[in-house]
Symmetry: C2
Subunit: 611 residues, 2 copies
């Protein structure tokens, strides 16, 4: 069990994105971020990085090896998690963007998410307990009564209690609407909760005195499907300290995130489980849960980013240090000196591929969070322009959430696999962090809505939101960039590739309209994932090129030998690599969709394999 820290972040890239590309400073020093300035943001990032390495990075491998245990109905988390939990809340990293009325620092959500990248990257398993606690607290903050907020939120934000979200049931999985848990109102206004929930992250643990479960259940006579569901606050222990008939029936044994206790919970086995309705109105459970779910999906994108980024940076360090083989230019000379493997073209290709994708994912995530912060900064403004701007920003958030979740998680797994390949045989060993990163990251494509659910959310809902205004605004943003840079001295060919990608993507949007309108709805899911990739690659291509244009100009102003020269050059190379090796795939995928392949739909079930 290694207690060594392997977590690595790239603070320079965070700073570049925040202040050179996305201009967070425009929002600082005024409402709602009155007390924040650029120096403070940079200081938080630096300190959070050091903290994450020291307190969480050191527990990542050992937590994986030890895992969680269920003995006599009680769950224990890996050694060190309890101490780290206390240190986390003492440090205040979980409340950076939380309202002051709940004890938070009311900072930009973007900053909180960049700190989240580090917490997740350093120890995904550990951070899940805390992230879900925060999510649950925010649901109660958004929809709970004043009284509920008073009783629950403070102790959740300060880490005294934890929180969970309980959606999935054994028979239901992604089909949340078929939930069979029940909630029957008692004379005192509380509810009798009964049901079994599975895959509950942090469903039980030994970190906190109590766990506040948010449970989806159906009241008597409520309609079938998701719209009949209500959301309940179900504490593990009643607030008077007595047991609340919530039992942990088992822990899952998993491929990864082994430090995170994934529990099966039985509510009301003895008919004695009491819950209270979130707020005062039944049958709002799904929309309330979706408030949390939306943030949870962004959180999965951030988890993906955190792990992928550390995987890349570990592979990079290994490639610089590990000497093996001679330069390809001396391949015929057996006595040529051994060189660090970063000098081998294929290793460089893998590293640049990872760099471009990691930094592209980070830009995608920050594009989304900056829209959230800009919308937040407009809260309270009443003029027409503010309303238009708010709709624009919120619309972009809606559009980008499925991309961040699904493309982020798919890419993270691939990036971790590439990191293993850079390490070679060593990458397959538990001595190095990358095999764990790969195992941990596989779940990201599944939980909080599978990546296909994300793709259907994008194609079936998001593209048509506000009559297509969100996607039109996105297209306009990309078009503005293309128009401004199509004759760029360094990047014009790559900008042209972006324009082609955008055109191809728009064309497929039209194909979907025809399918929806023409009774071919079953064609949509066969290519929805592919379209989500197309759109994600277009966004990332755009944001990487935007960064390259900025970096190219910034580098030109620096004297030779300045430390930032190489950094800016890296941004330009990453954009060029992506535009030459990934972005053309958008057009290629559009051509595949154009083939209208029905083979997966038309194939008889018996043809998959003989029974």
């Amino acid at each position: 069990m290694s207690q060594q820290n392997y977590y690595k972040a790239n603070l320079r890239d965070l700073s570049f994105l925040l202040f050179e590309q996305f201009h967070l400073q425009e929002l600082l020093g005024k409402a709602p971020y009155v007390d924040w300035d650029k120096d403070q943001v940079e200081t938080v990032l630096e300190e959070a990085y050091g903290w994450s390495q020291k307190y969480l990075g050191t527990l990542n491998s050992s937590g994986d090896a030890e895992g969680c245990k269920l003995v006599d109905g009680k769950v224990t988390t890996p050694a060190g998690f309890k101490e780290a939990w206390k240190a986390l809340f003492d440090a205040g990293w979980r409340t950076l963007a939380v309202d002051e009325k709940h004890g938070g620092q009311a900072g930009p959500f973007t900053l909180a998410m960049m700190v989240e990248e580090m917490l997740c990257g350093a120890n995904t398993s550990f951070n899940m307990y805390a992230a879900l606690t925060q999510g649950a607290a925010e649901v109660i903050g958004a929809f709970g009564t004043e009284d509920q907020q008073t009783r629950y939120i403070g102790k959740m934000f300060d880490g005294t209690w934890a929180g969970t979200m309980c959606l999935t049931e054994p028979h239901a999985g992604s089909d949340v609407g078929s939930s069979a848990s029940t909630a029957v109102k008692r004379p005192d206004g509380t509810y009798n909760i009964k049901g079994t929930k599975i895959y509950i992250s942090g469903g039980d643990q030994d970190l906190t005195a109590n766990i506040i479960h948010l449970v989806l259940a159906r009241t008597p006579d409520a309609p079938a499907g998701t719209k009949g569901l209500s959301l309940f606050i179900v504490p593990k222990r009643k607030l008077d300290g007595t047991s609340n008939d919530v039992a942990c029936a088992g822990l899952e044994h998993k491929m990864g995130i082994k430090g995170s206790a994934t529990a099966q919970l039985v509510f009301g086995e003895d008919d004695n489980c009491v819950g209270e309705l979130v707020g005062t109105t039944e049958q709002r459970g799904m929309s309330q849960m979706f408030h949390l779910m939306n943030y949870a999906r962004i959180g999965v994108g951030i988890q993906s980013l955190g792990i992928a980024s550390s995987a890349y940076l570990n592979a990079l360090e290994y490639a610089k240090e590990r000497k093996q083989g001679s330069s390809i230019k001396q391949w015929k000379d057996a006595t040529a000196p051994r060189v660090p493997i970063i000098e081998h073209p294929d290793v460089r290709r893998m590293l640049l591929d990872m760099k471009a994708k990691v930094e592209g994912l980070r830009a995608l995530c920050m594009k989304l969070t900056m829209h959230l912060d800009r919308a937040h900064a407009l809260v309270g403004a009443t003029d027409a322009d503010a309303k238009t701007q708010t709709e624009y920003h919120n619309g972009q958030v809606d559009l980008l959430v499925p991309l961040v979740k699904a493309y982020g998680s798919d890419q993270a797994f691939q990036i971790c696999a590439t990191a293993i390949q850079v390490f070679g045989g060593a990458g397959f060993l538990r001595d190095w962090p990358v095999e764990q990163y790969c195992r941990d990251s596989k779940i990201f494509s599944i939980y909080e809505g599978t990546n296909h659910i994300q793709a259907m959310d994008l194609v079936g809902r998001k593209l048509m939101q506000r009559g297509g205004a969100n996607v039109a605004a996105f297209g306009k943003d990309v078009g503005t960039f293309v128009a401004a840079n199509k004759t760029h001295a360094t990047l014009a060919p790559e900008v042209a590739t972006l324009a082609q990608a955008m055109e191809a993507m728009t064309g497929i949007g039209g194909t979907f309209m025809q399918w929806f309108g023409g009774g071919k709805i079953e064609m949509v899911p066969t290519v929805a994932n592919r379209f989500l990739e197309m759109m994600s690659e277009t966004v990332i291509g755009w944001l990487l090129l935007d960064a390259a244009v900025i970096a190219d100009a910034a580098a030109a102003k620096l004297p030779d030998g300045h430390a930032d020269k190489a950094f800016y050059a890296g941004k330009v190379f990453a954009a060029q690599f992506y535009a030459r090796n990934v972005l053309p795939g958008v057009q290629a995928k559009a051509q595949l969709i154009g083939k209208n392949d029905r083979s997966a739909l038309d194939m008889p079930e018996g043809a998959f394999a003989p029974a």
Copy 2:
């Protein structure tokens, strides 16, 4: 620890490939396969399948959970492995294609490899001990003296002793030529062996009374690099039963194949390790090892196939049984009946994608092994045509080995990841086999020469072998198929896509020639992997379409309701799916290569990330 068998094979597909597509029967009943007929082959496959499920499938998950242990210098393998080892050699599965003079059944190599698919698929970790033993025995058989053959081979083929291949050293990795192990001749003609080898599969175990290591080492004054290496037989215990100063210094803790003991071996710590030269001439070690290595690379392709195939078939079964969600045609009705998830278009898409790729890999592997068997059948023939044919078949084997190894292993990992996605959350759990399949398969892209080494072997060596005659013959074979089927009633559009892929691939071959000739050799490794994919996808597209043409004709002759109708339909659908969704990628990749992207080469090292 589950003792349940999850291994699944598709015997109907094996039979189709063997007898309907590749016509193994043409070789049976005459030399060198005099004693074999079609019924026997089918019987072996059926029995090997049942045996693999019963003896190996039941130990796969438990072997993974238990792993190997090193206590007091002794390695123990997981429970049940010893009994399975004995049963394996009793059953004779390891000697199907071994010469009769070594106690084998002298059957077709193709049959042995299809049985290998099942042994690997059922329990990759276990089978590695046996496969490497066989490989080592075959090296001694091919290059050892008569005396060495007499002393070693019989006991290796009957499982009394095991064998290993010891190439890798801590500092060297893929760079075998920098091996530092030494071999100094003693007065009696044996050698004093000294050195440390790592990543030795089956380097120590408790299955056999002795282990015959094949060790690459350098004699005094031998030249640097691979050409100075000699190969030595170094038994763990001398044949008189005394210790031979071979110590197991450690076992690796790995992401997967945990039932396979991956050992660090120290030879001659006490200056008392005795080896004998394989054969009688020094400095032939690398070519001797490559004899084994070539088969080992084919073996990795077969491992990949075995795991990927079982991953697909397990996902298929789960998708047929697991009910969740309603039909997309009733998506607005919350009370619509739940359906098996195989009815959901995206699940069907994933399954058909896996099916096409698995069956394509199997066809690729069998194409290679049939070339080997056809060459073997010509041994001894002296006419000019036989010589030409032998060169042709051996040339195709050379060309296909890197594809089988690298494309097979890359695809296997992806297919296993897709299988996890079909299972959803359940796929991430150790309750089901697919997460282990995914972990086990990751090493396939690394060992026996990383996949980039395979790509460089293809591009830098194989394409130019025999003055390009091998690749020309391959092109001619594809061309013949295209010409014969370009107006096929069902498959003409897909055949046209194949022709385009072949043209694109050929074009990139020309690009390589220009780079090699024009001093741009460093460009080659930046796209070698991509070219290997292009060629692999072209071969697989061709073989799937060839199968579809055969299946289409066969189905037409069957009465409605015949059990094979659905099977043949599946072959046609798989080919169509592949030709519409994967094969067009060959052209797309050629276009990427055409961009002559130098970004990975030109990027300064400091630009990857700030230090």
